[in-house]
């Protein structure tokens, strides 16, 4: 099955040019923000003399209202946004997979309780809660990751639950149970490996929404606090200079757009590839 998937991956990406472009964009953004320290400019160095400089050779992306180099800020901002996206995706996927597989496999009362809990969480206005939680927790990347992770796992839990429920009636799971295999091992060895494709697809699309959420939070000044750069807070900052220096909004805006679209196309392509099988 594994080499089958590899074959399908190659084929699928050959057909889907948009996904390939998406992967390339994601890779470029990840690498550049991971190696942002190689760009020898301090992202937080304030310079009064070069405020709102237009993009030039010295400042490829220009400078912002405090004279900080905008390219450096975009790179470090990307670091924050991608980090939040990846880590909160990992957190939410983990919670979602655990809750979903237990709920789906155990069924009965446990399932009912867990799913009503998920329903309750889903019907809460997520963004409002984030705002409130942010007011109580110390702002910073760590807390943004935790907040986003804790509030976005429900959809994954539902998907995993559904898949688990259909897999647990398969004869190889029935066989395992009859042979005396423990529930934990059945979930780990027989159910999760077989729903991995679904999990990967959902997780990929979740990264995109986590990045958007982080941007939105930071845009409202609730997520990552200045002076640490983040695409969302940079957008917020750019509001006052829309006419005077529109590039301040364009650069982080386009970066957010590109990242989110890339992850979404990648997710879509993966979904198609796994469905093929």
């Amino acid at each position: 099955m594994r080499d089958n998937i590899m074959k399908n991956l190659k084929l699928g990406f050959k057909e889907d040019k948009l996904a390939v472009i998406g992967v390339i964009i994601i890779l470029i953004l990840t690498v550049t923000s991971a190696f942002a320290f190689l760009y020898p400019v301090d992202a937080n160095a304030i310079s009064v003399t070069s405020r709102l400089a237009k993009p030039s050779l010295i400042h490829p992306f220009g400078t912002d209202d405090m004279g900080r180099d905008y390219l450096a800020r975009c790179l470090y901002g990307g670091r924050a946004s991608l980090l939040v996206g990846f880590l909160s995706m990992i957190l939410s996927t983990m919670i979602g997979v655990i809750v979903g597989s237990i709920s789906g496999y155990m069924g009965g009362k446990i399932d009912a309780i867990l799913m009503r809990f998920v329903d309750a969480l889903m019907s809460l206005p997520t963004f409002l809660i984030m705002v409130v939680m942010n007011a109580y927790l110390k702002p910073g990347i760590k807390n943004v990751i935790i907040i986003i992770g804790l509030l976005t796992w429900m959809s994954i839990a539902r998907i995993v639950r559904g898949e688990t429920m259909s897999l647990k009636e398969r004869e190889y799971v029935v066989y395992s149970r009859i042979s005396g295999q423990s529930r934990l091992k059945i979930i780990l060895q027989h159910i999760l490996p077989n729903i991995m494709p679904t999990i990967i697809v959902t997780a990929t699309i979740n990264i995109a929404s986590a990045i958007l959420m982080e941007s939105a939070l930071s845009f409202f000044g609730l997520g990552i606090r200045p002076p640490t750069a983040s695409w969302g807070s940079m957008l917020n900052n750019a509001q006052g200079y829309m006419i005077k220096a529109p590039y301040l909004a364009i650069f982080p805006g386009v970066l957010i757009l590109l990242t989110v679209i890339s992850f979404n196309y990648l997710g879509e392509a993966l979904r198609k590839i796994f469905e093929h099988k």
């Binding site: 099955m1 594994r2 089958n4 398969r170 004869e171 190889y172 029935v174 066989y175 395992s176 149970r177 009859i178 042979s179 005396g180 295999q181 060895q189 027989h190 490996p193 077989n194």
Partner: protein, 319 residues
């Protein structure tokens, strides 16, 4: 070796209305009793939905019993907890119908065959692999296939892998839940021969569930006929085929395809089968039975011995 006494397995049906409090039960298996002797092949036949698979899985305690009991080798296992069952599970194994669904597609043949050994902590790692190779050869496959994935094999080969897996922990009893139904005819014969050979060699006991009467007749010693959750006839194989008593058994046998198109004996006796509706009262077969009378519509017949070793649940044969 295995005694099934008054086995009942009911499933709760989903409530139809929002506020109805009376849950309805689907009686998948209702008061079924039979005994499987050591070393024999016991056949269970019946149409789909008759509960034969449920009986099989019930014996392996996949389902919780609603009533009755199961005795395995002198131990009552009907209501034991999962932990207490583990030593018993070591003696029981199963082979299922669908060779495509019964092997985990994400595991290699080695992982598949080694799984029961791992569960019961038999042998160490290298011994397990060796044993897996031996077993593969025993069921007529190549030991080099051990690192391949199930999708690389045909249905018949997959069924052989299932058999190898079932044999890996030296069980005494194997549930064969329609092991040949999904295979084509030439493969069916091969798999049946393989199963028979293994039985002679290893002294296995089989519970063989099938709807293919020819095969059942060929390999089973005793046969139980099930209809809608009830055992309607129980007899040794020869007697059942020569002298079927229950009208349902007669109908089943008449539906067997003969090689000779001229031989079609009971066809005319049995009316074309009407839309299956559940009978609420009386014998469940009464609305399809050509001999049904008023008594059949009110009372449920019990399984009674009418000749030596031949049991039937029908009022025709009572006093």
């Amino acid at each position: 070796m295995i005694e099934v006494e008054d086995l009942q397995i009911y499933f709760r049906q989903k409530k139809q209305k929002l506020f109805s409090f009376n849950t309805e039960y689907l009686k998948a298996v209702d008061h079924v009793s039979f005994t499987i002797k050591r070393g024999e092949t016991f056949g269970l036949v019946g149409e789909s939905g008759s509960g034969k698979s449920t009986v099989g899985k019930g014996i392996l305690r996949y389902y919780n019993l609603t009533g009755g009991n199961i005795t395995f080798d002198g131990t009552e296992i009907g209501y034991q907890k999962e932990k207490e069952l583990l030593p018993i599970r070591k003696k029981m194994q199963s082979i299922f119908q669908d060779p495509y669904a019964s092997l985990d597609p994400s595991h290699t043949v080695k992982d598949i065959i080694c799984e029961p050994m791992e569960i019961h902590k038999l042998y160490d790692k290298s011994e397990r692999k060796e044993r897996a190779c031996e077993l593969l050869e025993m069921v007529g496959m190549n030991k080099n296939d051990i690192l391949r994935y199930p999708h690389e094999f045909s249905g018949g080969q997959r069924q052989r892998i299932s058999i190898a897996r079932a044999l890996s922990i030296n069980p005494q009893f194997i549930l064969c839940d329609e092991p040949i139904s999904a295979l084509d005819v030439s493969l069916q014969a091969q798999i049946v021969h393989l199963l028979e050979g293994l039985q002679d060699k290893l002294g296995l006991t089989y519970l063989f569930i099938s709807h293919q009467l020819q095969m059942v007749q060929q390999i089973c010693d005793n046969i139980g006929v099930m209809f809608l959750g009830n055992l309607v006839e129980l007899s040794d194989a020869d007697d059942l085929y020569k002298n079927p008593l229950h009208p349902y058994t007669k109908m089943l046998l008449s539906s067997m395809l003969e090689a000779d198109p001229g031989v079609r004996c009971l066809e005319d006796d049995i009316p074309e089968y009407k839309v299956m509706t559940r009978v609420k009262q009386g014998c469940k077969f009464s609305n399809r039975c050509p001999y049904a009378n008023s008594r059949c519509k009110e009372e449920v017949p019990k399984l009674k011995e009418v000749a030596k070793g031949h049991y039937v649940a029908c009022f025709q044969y009572e006093g």
